[in-house]
Symmetry: C2
Subunit: 612 residues, 2 copies
C-alpha cells in the first residue's frame, strides 16, 4: 500500500478525552475515530491489526473448537428461560433492549450463553455427540454506565466468545484447562507481559473461573500474586492471611470517654493501641429485587480496624443469604446513608457489634430482618477495642462470646499487598495492575438446568449438559497491547499483529534514485509476501519519520543519502536499534521469516532482525 493512496491521517494532538497512552496513540496515529460515547470506528490500520489478531486467535483455537456465528439480536424468551432477563435489564441494566414492530422485546447480546444452550438443546441428543466446543468472533454490546479509556470500556466491542458442552464435570474441567492453555499460548505469542489469575465469576455464575490479565499501570483491575508464581488472583477475589496482629495491650473490658475519635486512626492515637487491635462495625444497605418489588435489608459488618471490606466478597456473602429474606437478586449494596436516622440515634464512628436491632432497623418493625456479619480475621480478635454504641465512647478488652455474640463469620476482607499466602506464610503477596483480556469459566449445569437442555447419558438417563464458557475481548486486547508496548513516540506493535511489517520511508521523493530504489524494494517485498507500506508523500523527512514511529510498524527502511554507498537504514521500532544494510540485501533480510505472511490468516511469529 502507498501512503499517498490510502486513508492515513495522523494528528499532533490527541482528543481531549483520551485518558491513557494507548488510546492517545491509537487516536493520534489514525487507527480509531470516536463517533459517540463508547463508540469507535476502526480505520484501515486498526482493522488490519484486528484482522491479524483474530487470525491468530483462530489459529490457536484450530482443532480445539469450531467457529460459528450467532445472531446479535436475542429474543427475550431465551433470557427469561435462563432467569437472567431481570438482572440484565433491571438491576445492572447493562443490556440494550428494543421492541420490534410486532411489539416483542429483543436484546442486543452482551454474551451468548442462552443462544449456545438453545442451539445445543436442538442439535445434540446423545453423550456420543459430546463434547462440543464452539466459538464466534463478533460484536457485543453493553449499555455501560461510564464508557471510558478508549476501547477498554465501550458500549460496542469485538469479542471472541466460546461455549463448550460436556457429559461430565471431569471432561469440562479438562477442556477448561485446554482452553486456558490456548489463552496462555496466545498471549505469549503476542509478546506481552500477562498473568492468569483466580477470578470472581460475577453474574455469569458458576464455581470456577480464571482471568487473563495484560499487566499495565492503567489497568482497571488489581492483581495480587506471590513471587513464586504459584498464586495469583484478582484482588476482588484474592484470599490471604493478614499480617498477624500483636497482642492487645488491654486485658479488661473497660469503657473510655474518647471524644472526637470517630475514625480508627484517631481512636488508636487516643487509646494507645494499633488499628489491628480494633474491630470496626459498618452498616450497609442491601437491596434485593423480589417478585412484586424490592426489599431493603440492613447489614452490619464487623471487621478488623486495619482491614477494608472487599465489595465483591461482601456482595456474594449477602446474596448467598437471600433465602433468609424470601430470596431475590441483590441489586444494590452500599454503606448506609446517615440521613435515615434521627439526630443522635446512630452513634456513627462509635458503633459496637451489638448495635441494637431497633437502631439497625431505624424504626421498630420496619424491616422483617437484617444481617450481622463478621469477617474471619475480626472473629479471631482477642481483647479488642470497639465502639460503645454511644457517641464519644469506646470500649477496650472486649471478646466475642463474652461481651458480644459472634455474628455469622464470613470472609469479606480485601486482600492486599503485604498479606501472606493462606497456605504458605513464607510467600508475601505483591500487587500489580492489569487489563482483563480473557476470562474462562466452568459454568457447570446452571444454564442447562434452567433451560432444560439435556442429553441421553451412557446409562440411558437424561442429564443436563456440563458447560464452560471462554471469552477474549478482542478490541480490548488490541488496546491493552498498545498500552503496554507503546512509548512516548507512539505505538509499538508486535510483528504478529502489526498492520504492516515494514514501512519504506523515502527521504526525498523528488530524488529519482531514492524513489526508484524504494519502488524496486516495494515490489520485491510484496512479491515475497511481506506486508509493506511505502511512504511516498511529498512531506519533509522529519514528518515521515515521526509518523512511522507513531504508527508503530516494526521495521522502518529509510531510503536516503546512504544510497550513495548503496545502502539503506533499517530501524527496529521496538528497540530503536538502527542497522545499515546493502540495498541488494535488504529484501532478503526482511523476508522469509514465518511471521511475514501477506494474509492476516497467515500471520505468525516474527523473529527477523533479532532484537538487541
Amino acid at each position: 500500500m502507498r501512503v499517498s493512496q490510502g486513508l492515513f491521517v495522523t494528528w499532533r494532538e490527541a482528543p481531549s478525552d483520551a485518558e491513557t497512552r494507548g488510546i492517545v496513540m491509537l487516536s493520534r496515529a489514525g487507527f480509531v475515530r470516536k463517533l459517540g460515547s463508547g463508540l469507535y470506528a476502526n480505520l484501515p490500520l486498526m482493522q488490519r491489526v484486528l484482522l491479524r489478531l483474530e487470525a491468530v486467535i483462530r489459529q490457536e483455537l484450530s482443532g480445539v473448537a469450531q467457529e460459528v456465528s450467532f445472531p446479535i439480536l436475542q429474543p427475550e424468551s431465551l433470557w427469561r428461560e435462563s432467569g437472567r432477563w431481570e438482572a440484565y435489564t433491571r438491576a445492572e441494566g447493562i443490556m440494550f433492549t428494543m421492541q420490534d414492530r410486532a411489539g416483542r422485546q429483543l436484546a442486543l447480546g452482551p454474551t451468548h450463553e442462552e443462544v449456545a444452550v438453545a442451539v445445543m438443546r436442538d442439535m445434540v441428543q446423545s453423550y456420543r455427540d459430546l463434547p462440543v466446543s464452539m466459538y464466534q468472533i463478533g460484536r457485543k454490546f453493553r449499555d455501560e454506565l461510564r464508557p471510558r479509556f478508549g476501547l477498554l470500556r465501550t458500549r460496542e466491542f469485538t469479542m471472541k466468545d466460546g461455549y463448550s458442552f460436556h457429559a461430565s464435570p471431569e471432561d469440562l474441567r479438562a477442556h477448561f484447562e485446554v482452553m486456558s492453555g490456548v489463552y496462555a499460548r496466545l498471549l505469549t505469542r503476542l509478546g506481552v507481559r500477562w498473568r492468569a489469575v483466580e477470578a470472581d465469576s460475577g453474574n455469569i455464575g458458576g464455581a470456577d473461573s480464571r482471568e487473563f490479565m495484560v499487566l499495565t499501570d492503567v489497568g482497571e483491575d488489581e492483581v495480587l500474586y506471590s513471587a513464586d508464581g504459584r498464586y495469583a488472583a484478582n484482588a476482588e477475589r484474592a484470599v490471604s492471611r493478614p499480617a498477624e496482629a500483636t497482642p492487645s495491650p488491654f486485658h479488661t473490658f473497660t469503657r473510655h470517654h474518647t471524644p472526637g475519635t470517630a475514625t480508627v486512626a484517631t481512636a488508636c492515637a487516643v487509646l494507645g493501641c494499633e488499628p489491628a487491635h480494633m474491630v470496626k462495625n459498618v452498616l450497609y444497605d442491601a437491596v434485593f429485587s423480589q417478585e412484586g418489588g424490592t426489599l431493603l435489608v440492613p447489614v452490619l459488618v464487623s471487621l478488623r480496624g486495619d482491614h477494608a471490606v472487599n465489595p465483591v466478597k461482601l456482595w456474594n456473602a449477602v446474596q448467598a443469604r437471600a433465602e433468609r429474606f424470601g430470596g431475590g437478586t441483590l441489586i444494590s449494596l452500599e454503606v448506609a446513608q446517615t440521613g435515615a436516622w434521627a439526630e443522635g440515634e446512630l452513634p456513627l464512628g462509635y458503633i459496637a457489634p451489638d448495635l441494637p436491632d431497633r437502631v439497625i432497623a431505624r424504626r421498630e418493625g420496619l424491616y422483617p430482618a437484617f444481617l450481622r456479619l463478621c469477617d474471619e480475621a475480626a472473629a479471631e480478635a482477642r481483647n479488642f477495642t470497639t465502639g460503645a454504641n454511644e457517641a464519644d465512647w469506646h470500649v477496650t478488652g472486649a471478646n466475642w462470646g463474652e461481651h458480644y455474640q459472634l455474628p455469622d463469620v464470613v470472609e469479606v476482607r480485601q486482600a492486599r499487598a503485604g498479606d501472606v499466602l493462606l497456605h504458605d506464610p513464607s510467600q508475601v503477596l505483591h500487587s500489580a495492575r492489569g487489563i482483563e483480556v480473557g476470562h474462562v469459566f466452568q459454568l457447570g449445569t446452571k444454564y442447562a438446568q434452567a433451560m432444560n437442555a439435556r442429553f441421553t447419558a451412557a446409562d440411558g438417563t437424561a442429564q443436563p449438559f456440563h458447560m464452560g464458557c471462554y471469552g477474549i475481548g478482542v478490541t480490548r486486547l488490541a488496546q491493552a497491547i498498545a498500552e503496554q508496548l507503546s512509548d512516548e513516540r507512539g505505538l509499538v506493535w508486535p510483528a504478529v499483529i502489526a498492520p504492516y511489517q515494514v514501512i519504506l520511508t523515502v527521504v526525498d521523493v523528488q530524488d529519482e534514485r531514492q524513489m526508484q530504489a524504494a519502488e524496486s524494494l516495494y515490489a520485491q517485498l510484496r512479491a515475497a509476501g511481506v506486508d509493506v507500506l511505502l511512504d511516498d508523500r511529498p512531506e519533509r523527512a522529519g514528518v515521515k519519520f515521526a509518523d512511522a514511529e507513531l504508527t508503530g510498524i516494526p521495521y522502518r527502511v529509510t531510503l536516503g543519502r546512504a544510497l550513495d554507498q548503496g545502502e539503506v537504514e533499517v530501524k527496529v521500532r521496538r528497540t530503536g536499534e538502527v542497522r545499515r544494510l546493502a540495498l541488494a540485501e535488504v529484501a532478503a533480510a526482511l523476508q522469509g521469516e514465518p511471521g511475514w505472511a501477506t494474509s492476516p490468516a497467515g500471520a505468525g511469529r516474527a523473529t527477523l532482525l533479532p532484537h538487541a
Copy 2:
C-alpha cells in the same frame, strides 16, 4: 476435521417454514439453525462457507478499497443530519432503535452512509487526500415486516458495505465502474449465473445505481433483459416501448350505455375494442409525512387499458412533486379505499380522466390539492375509450386536448416481457427472476451536502464530497448460491467457498484396512493444505453417502472394497461423475490446485478434476 469430533448434525426433514430449496437444504445439512423470526445461527459448516466467501470478497477488493469497521450502534444525531431519521423510523420503519441509559436514541445500523460521511468529514480536508474508498464486512439489521425465505430476508444479516469519496463526478463514475468490475469478477469466480441490471435507488437516493442478480426462480425480483445483452433492468425500474396499439375502431366521441362492465376486459368485450384502445383511471391515496403531522393527497392516474402501474415509478413520480404540497416524505401510496365516498358518488370502474375535483377530494375543500398524472403511453392514445364518470356508461373516440385536458405526463407503466427496447425496437424484453446480491450507487453530493462534509478543492473553494456506495449481501449471496446450484439430493458448493474441499467416506470403520487407508490419506491431504473432512462415524455407508451429498462438498473419496485393487472412488458432487484412482495417486490428484488452501483467506479458484 473428523465428523465424529465436531458438531455435524443432519436432518431427514426440513423445518415446516422453509420455503425454498436453498433454506431447506441449508437446514437439513446442519449449516444453519433458526433461533427466531428472521434470526439464524450459523453453525460450523456455514461459518466456513461465510469466512471463505468473505475472504474472496476481500481478495477482489484488495487494492481497490481499504477495509474498516464502523460501530453498529449509531447516534440519532447523525441520521437527523442526513434527514433520514424520520423515513427510517416512522415511514418504512425498518430501522431498530433503542434508548440508552441516558435516554438518548440509538439506531442499529441498516446501512452506514451517515457514519462514513462523519468519518470523512473529520479525517479528510483536501482534494489531495481524495479519492478514499473504504468497506467493511459486518452485521446489518432491518425490522422487516415479513422475514422469510431463510437467509434471503432476515432481520440480521452480514453485509459488505463500501463507501467512496471523490473530488469530482467523473472520478466517482470511474470508481463506480471499477467497483462494478469487482462485483462481476466475484460472481463469475463463484461460478453462478448472474446479471447486472439497472435499478431503482430507493431510499438510498442518488441518480445512478446498478444491481447484481443471481438468477433463480425463487428470486424476489423480476429482471427484464434483451437477448443481445445490452439492456437489463430490475422490472421495478425497467423502461421499454410498449407493443404498438392498433388504430382505434372509434372515430367520434360517443357515450355508450355499458352496464356491468366495470373491468377493462368486460368493457372491451361489450364495446368491441382492445384493452390497448382504452384509458383507465385509477385513484390512489398518497400520504406525506410533514412537520407537524401527515398530509393526504389523492392522485388520479390515467394509463392504457393493457398496462399496469409500476408502484416504484409511481412512488418516485409522486415524491418528486412533494413541493407542490409543502414538501415532506412520502410514507404511503395505495389505491384509494371506496369506503371514503358516499354511495354512488364515485363511478368506480367508469371513472373518466376529468373526474371532478370535488369527487376526487371527496368533500369540498377537504384537501388543499391533488394530483392528476397520465402515463406516457396513455398520453399517446388517440380516439380512446374511457369511463364516462357515470356508472354503467363509457365514452369512445376520446382525445386529449379535445375532450380532456392532458394531465402531468409521467412514465409510471410497468415494463414487461414482450415489450421492445426503447431505442431499439428490434430487441424484445425477456423476463427472469433473480436474487439481488449486490447493489452499487452513485450518490453524488446528497449526503455530503446534508451533513456539510466538504473538502478544499484545487481552486481553494470548499466543495461537498462526491460519494458512492457499494453493497453485497454476504449471507444472502451464500443462500442465493445454494438456491441456484443445489439439486434434489442437497447442496452443491463451488470449491472456492466450499466448507471442505474433500470428504473421505469410510464405508466400514470396523475394517482396519479401510480406516488405515483413510487416516493415511487424511494426513497426506492435510499436510498438503487441502481442507478435508474424514467421515469416521460408525454409520451405514448409505447414511454417510447421503450426508456427503446433502453437505455439498465438491469431492467425495470413498474408501471401500475397491481397496482390494488398491483403489478408491472419487465422486464429483456437481456432475455426479465417478472415477477410480489408485490410492497412492489420489492425494496428488486432489492437491496442488490454486483453490485448495487451508485458510479461508487463501481460498482461490479450484479447477481440479475437470468437470465432465
